[in-house]
């Protein structure tokens, strides 16, 4: 069983680069609401989006990510807030997010998340106080079916207010599975599956595979994460991230995302650092090496017990 799951995961991962070419012809209209895929968790952002399968970090933003991983979290309750600027040279969105995840049973974790991104006022609506924004509210549940296997689901509502008289909205769900074996975390599933926006434009839905492995060096460690997404629009992205824990209180992180040309989140390098003490964590992240989202940053404050 363990071996077969691992084999399937590896096969899927190896196939990811080949999928876009095969799916290109089916790509219709561009994806709507690409902002759904912007990271709300500063830890993941600093690893360029990798770390979906990680269970060791604060799972406060599990509702935006992987609730199945949260089911394996040893903490009773994890909460966090984040604030940052996304694509400051372009859309210049100011994003504020909050999330909470907790166990209602030992094997069941619930998570909630809220995020709002505000954009500068439109110069062509000078007489109006209206400013565009998008809003995401999500809830998730994770089940640890066994000590090594768990599943999770999220559902959420998203709305983009574009003009004073024009907005878009959508519902989406995600279904994920988590498998742990000998320090290796594997995750996979379908992310942001939903109906078409404005009757024609798909959400940035993808099939996702993620792996993470941690190396322990005394009270320090190094976690390596590899995430891959195949978007049903034909795009793909692969992200490799590192999270180094130093003395149990300091963290240095980095990662790189390689994405196809029209992927919702473009290629870029993530960097970050963190501090944790007595359950309180403070994390910062920064994105560079990207024409469109370079300069993005995020800071987050978390608490877990």
């Amino acid at each position: 069983m363990k071996r077969s799951v691992l084999s399937l995961f590896l096969a899927g991962f190896l196939c990811l680069p080949a999928l876009p070419a095969a799916a290109q012809n089916t790509a219709g209209a561009n994806e709507a609401m690409g902002s759904l895929r912007v990271d709300r968790d500063p830890v993941l952002l600093s690893m360029a989006g990798a770390g979906f399968a990680m269970t060791s970090t604060n799972q406060a933003f599990a509702a935006f990510g992987n609730p199945a991983a949260a089911a394996f979290s040893p903490q009773k309750l994890e909460a966090g807030v984040s604030y940052g600027s996304w694509a400051p040279k372009y859309a210049a969105g100011s994003q504020i997010s909050a999330g909470v995840s907790g166990h209602v049973k030992k094997s069941v974790a619930l998570s909630l998340g809220f995020s709002r991104t505000g954009y500068p006022g439109l110069d062509f609506e000078p007489a109006s106080a209206f400013k565009p924004s998008d809003l995401v509210v999500r809830a998730g549940v994770g089940f640890a079916v066994s000590e090594s296997f768990g599943i999770g689901f999220t559902a959420g509502y998203a709305k983009e207010a574009l003009l004073s008289d024009y907005s878009l909205s959508a519902f989406s769900v995600s279904a994920l599975a988590q498998y742990r074996i000998a320090g290796l975390n594997l995750a996979g599933g379908i992310v942001h599956l939903g109906g078409k926006v404005a009757s024609a434009y798909p959400l940035p839905s993808s099939a996702k595979l993620a792996a993470e492995y941690g190396f322990e060096f005394g009270n320090s460690n190094l976690h390596v994460a590899l995430d891959g997404d195949y978007y049903f629009s034909g795009n793909y992205s692969v992200a490799l991230g590192l999270n180094a824990g130093i003395g149990g209180i300091g963290f240095v992180r980095g990662g790189y995302r390689l994405a196809s040309a029209n992927a919702a989140i473009p290629s870029g390098l993530g960097l970050g650092a963190g501090f944790a003490w007595h359950g309180i964590s403070l994390d910062v992240s920064f994105v560079t090496a990207s024409e469109t989202v370079g300069g993005s940053w995020m800071a987050g404050l978390g608490y877990r017990f």
Binding site: G28, A29, N30, E31, A32, M33, G34, S35, R37, V38, W86, A87, K89, Y90, A91, G93, T117, Y119, P120, L122, D123, F124, P132, D134, E160, L162, L163, Y166, L168, V197, A198, Y201, P204, A261, N262, A263, A264, I265, P266, S290, E291, T292, V293
Partner: protein, 870 residues
């Protein structure tokens, strides 16, 4: 200055009193109560636009649109629910040049939603820039206030001799009318099938100007007025019109033209009159050849129809009276007075009997000192008299009333072959019209003017004591007086003359006497016919010619006169009569017999060797001279195996112009000119002409794209610097805008294209040239309109759908464009050499709705703009 009618709802009324008289043929007696008030309230105003505004909206409206490039006007479309805007004086075809010259094209009739009050519509238009004048809607009504029996005392007053229009002597000695005189009846429709009218109605051309009434329908008032003017006389039935001809003698009267402006809807007690566009009817009457306009209608100031003119109503009447010169009706009257019988330049047409037109108006029936539009100075205003020669009690009065005429109990024609008596200044007006038509029938001709006609009517009128006093209505119109006006009495007869035949023409020399206005030479084939003819109304077969001395005061002087184109080789009896200004004729000079000579053959003189060569667009003068020794009328025929046509003009002598037509390549042709006189004598001349091949015009120098920085900014492009034609022929330049919402293009100074920015954006204008043969060359010129300093323009604005058109630098520059989603994805991009005139066009049909940032990198200078895709 903006003006409007200052009267509260001004009413139009046919100026008639007294219906309900027993008809002469009583089986079709009209309904009692006919002619009560009209309830029609048209939802429209008449608006005079400025030249600039008119130019702006004219093109749009001509396409049937209501929305125009005038933002202010577009605002009123929504505010007032404007349904249509159309010219008050419609496009006039060949008469359009003079219509525009007089500014009539700037008057528009604007219809709006029925629930919008007229005062609100008027105020809205008054506040609109580019509107010079607004007239509130006019309502139509008929009023009645009298009813009497009567006979035709207006033409034959046996009870009070001398108080009629004194027309019988004119009929007997001068004229009963002339079909070439067209009189327009601006009124209800004439019953064109009435047995007492049909003979004197034009066969076609009658028209309804009443909305919703497509056909001319016999109307009681209009038919009555027409009968007074020209009911057929001496036909054994009904009544006699003043200028109605003489049926028994086969002489037709003047021609009636019905310009229907009243139309009765409903019957009996529910009968209502709907009124039409009086201005258009008057204006178009001139275009149709009418020389006299008879108007038995006017503004009614009894707004509440209580039969009493209150103080406020009198004030309204005074205001209209004082401001009539500003109204649209005044413009129509001006047009009629100036252009009736004339070409577009105001010159008398060759076949016309008068230069200019006479407008006759009824003074009105309110017994007040005002009357509008009758008081407008160019009109003849007519008051009404009774059978005893006193002012009719209802007649309006004042120094502005020019003439009076019978107006009480006037019997005339009525629809459905009946007759009826009416009273009103409506009935007086056609008496003056009829007399004017008679005078014009007899005296009309080249050089006769509307002032001559008015002078005769006014000078010949009889003073019956009504032209002064507290309520004057002028002198009584007098037909015989008009004919005798300015007359100096019967002149002396010519005592002797000599006559010499020249070919089949006769040349007469004689000694002129005193007190003579002119001489008439006469020739007849029998002495008896000449001796017995009435000089004022010559019999058929009498040849004649006039020598008018006019005001020359040479009592005794040698005179010559010729009788042309008589039959050749024939005996004629010849004499001369002198006549005065009023056509009082002297006795005939002693009759002489003379034999005419042979008919001479016409000749064509030219250089027999000459071959004419010309380019296809040319008209070439041909130095042919055609001479007929007898000065007969010459008919010219031109025949050729080519496609040229000949334009021949007679101006003392013949002039010819050969007009070339398009041919394939150079070619030579043969042509023959034939001149024939009326007796069949002919002269022929053949010649050759060659036509060179046409060379088409070309765009010899490209026209650079145009950049403008502000709406309203213009630039002129001299097209003659860009188009050339090797032929050297004059080119016809034409320009138009291919994006009329953004750019306007007009031709100025004949060869310059003026490009004017109407809105920001990118468009094209087209310049084209045509040579005389229709060959053309053209150029489409891009025009960019955007604010100075703006580096990037997105034509779709900030909210786009299927595409984005991005105008960059004016010069082609390396440019990179990216459209980036809020999440950072590049969803569309382009890179290359682009410019404002070669814009970047991104296909965004598949781009999802959302917030986007457009990044435009022009040689390192980056501009970003936030857009929304819908």
């Amino acid at each position: 200055m903006k003006l409007k009618l200052l009267v509260f709802p001004v009413l139009l009324t046919a100026l008639v009193s007294c219906v309900r008289e027993a008809p002469v043929t009583p089986e079709t007696e009209p309904e009692a109560g006919q002619g009560t008030d009209s309830e029609q309230t048209p939802s429209y105003v008449k608006v005079l636009f400025s030249e600039e505004m008119c130019d702006l909206v004219e093109e749009d409206l001509s396409r049937g649109q209501v929305r125009t490039r005038s933002e202010g006007l577009n605002g009123l479309v929504d505010e007032l629910g404007i349904e249509s805007m159309e010219r008050l004086f419609p496009f006039a075809g060949e008469f359009e040049p003079r219509t525009r010259k007089e500014g009539l094209h700037r008057w528009y009739k604007v219809s709006y939603a029925e629930d919008v009050p007229a005062t609100r519509a008027t105020r809205a238009f008054e506040s609109l820039p580019g509107v010079e004048m607004v007239e509130e809607p006019l309502k139509a009504s008929l009023t009645t206030n009298d009813k009497y029996w009567g006979d035709m005392w207006g033409l034959n007053n046996t009870r009070y001799p001398g108080k009629d229009v004194n027309v019988q002597e004119v009929w007997e000695n001068y004229s009963v009318g002339n079909p070439d005189v067209v009189v327009a009846v601006i009124d209800g429709g004439i019953d064109l099938n009435h047995p007492d009218l049909a003979w004197n109605c034009l066969p076609s051309g009658h028209k309804s100007y009443v909305p919703g009434a497509a056909n001319v329908v016999g109307h009681d008032h209009g038919t009555h007025v027409a009968g007074t003017i020209a009911a057929v006389s001496n036909n054994g039935i009904g009544v006699a019109g003043i200028a109605g001809g003489n049926y028994a003698e086969g002489r037709r009267g003047i021609s009636l033209l019905s310009q229907q402006c009243f139309y009765t809807i409903g019957t009996g007690a529910n009968a209502r009159d709907r009124s039409g566009d009086f201005e258009t009817a008057i204006k178009e009457a001139a275009d149709k050849g009418a020389l006299i306009s008879s108007n038995s209608w006017g503004y009614n100031f009894d707004a509440d129809d209580d039969g009493v003119i209150s103080g406020a109503e009198l004030a309204s009447a005074r205001s209209a009276h004082q401001n009539v010169q500003y109204y649209s009706i005044a413009r129509a009257i001006d047009y009629f007075v100036k252009y009736a019988g004339c070409d577009n330049d105001g010159n008398q047409l060759p076949g016309s009997l008068m230069k200019g037109g006479l407008v006759v108006f009824a003074a009105g029936n309110e017994n007040i000192p005002y009357g509008c539009p009758a008081n407008y100075e160019p009109c003849l205003a007519v008051g009404a008299t009774t059978v005893s020669g006193s002012r009719a009690s209802f007649s309006n009065y004042g120094d502005w009333v020019d003439l009076c005429a019978p107006g009480s109990n006037i019997i005339s024609t009525h629809p459905n072959s009946t007759y009826i008596s009416y009273s009103g200044t409506s009935m007086a007006c056609p008496h003056v019209t009829g007399v004017a038509a008679l005078v014009l029938s007899y005296f009309g001709g080249q050089g006769f003017t509307v002032d001559d006609l008015k002078s005769r009517l006014l000078e010949g009128a009889k003073d019956i004591g009504l032209s002064s006093g507290s309520r004057p209505v002028g002198s009584l119109v007098d037909a015989m007086g008009a004919f005798m006006a300015h007359d100096s009495g019967t002149p002396e007869a010519v005592t002797d003359f000599t006559v010499v035949p020249i070919g089949h023409n006769l040349h007469l020399d004689f000694q002129g006497g005193g007190g003579t206005y002119g001489y008439m030479a006469l020739a007849a084939r029998s002495e008896e016919a000449l001796r017995n003819t009435r000089l004022s109304m010559l019999d058929t077969g009498i040849e004649f010619s006039h020598l008018v001395i006019g005001d020359v005061e040479e009592p005794v002087a040698p005179r010559s006169i010729e009788l042309l184109s008589l039959e050749p080789d024939m005996d004629y009896y010849v004499s001369i009569a002198a006549y005065s200004y009023g056509r009082r004729y002297s006795d005939l000079a002693p009759i002489k017999k003379v034999h005419t000579g042979h008919n001479g053959k016409p000749t064509i003189d030219t250089d027999p060797e000459e071959t004419f060569v010309f380019r296809q667009f040319e008209e070439v003068d041909i130095p042919f001279t055609i001479i007929d020794p007898d000065r007969d009328t010459i008919a010219v025929d031109f025949q050729t195996n080519g496609r040229a046509t000949l334009k021949a003009e007679m101006d003392g002598k013949w002039h010819f112009r050969l007009i070339c037509q398009a041919v394939r390549g150079p070619a030579s042709f043969q042509a023959t000119l034939v001149a024939s006189d009326r007796f069949g004598e002919r002269a022929l001349r053949s010649f050759k002409y060659s036509v060179l091949e046409n060379v088409e015009p070309v765009l010899s120098r490209e026209i650079a794209p145009v950049a403008l920085n502000a709406v309203g900014q213009s630039v002129d492009i001299d097209l003659s610097q860009h188009f050339t034609d090797e032929d050297g022929e004059p080119l016809d330049y034409r320009v138009n805008s291919l994006d009329a919402n953004t750019i306007a293009a007009e031709l100025v100074d004949g060869n310059k294209m003026r490009v004017t920015a109407r809105a920001f954006g990118l468009g094209e204008v087209r310049a084209a040239v045509f040579d005389a043969m229709g060959a053309t060359a053209k150029s489409d010129i891009p025009v960019l309109v955007r604010p100075a300093g703006e580096k990037v323009t997105v034509l779709e604005g900030n909210v786009f759908t299927d595409k984005l058109t991005i105008l960059t630098a004016e010069q082609a520059t390396q440019t990179t464009v990216r459209l980036v989603s809020a999440s950072g994805a590049v969803v569309a991009s382009a890179s290359g050499e682009y410019s404002a005139f070669h814009p970047v066009v991104l296909d965004t049909g598949k781009v999802a709705p959302g917030l986007y940032t457009l990044s435009v990198d022009i040689a390192g200078d980056v501009t970003r703009r936030t857009l929304v895709k819908k």
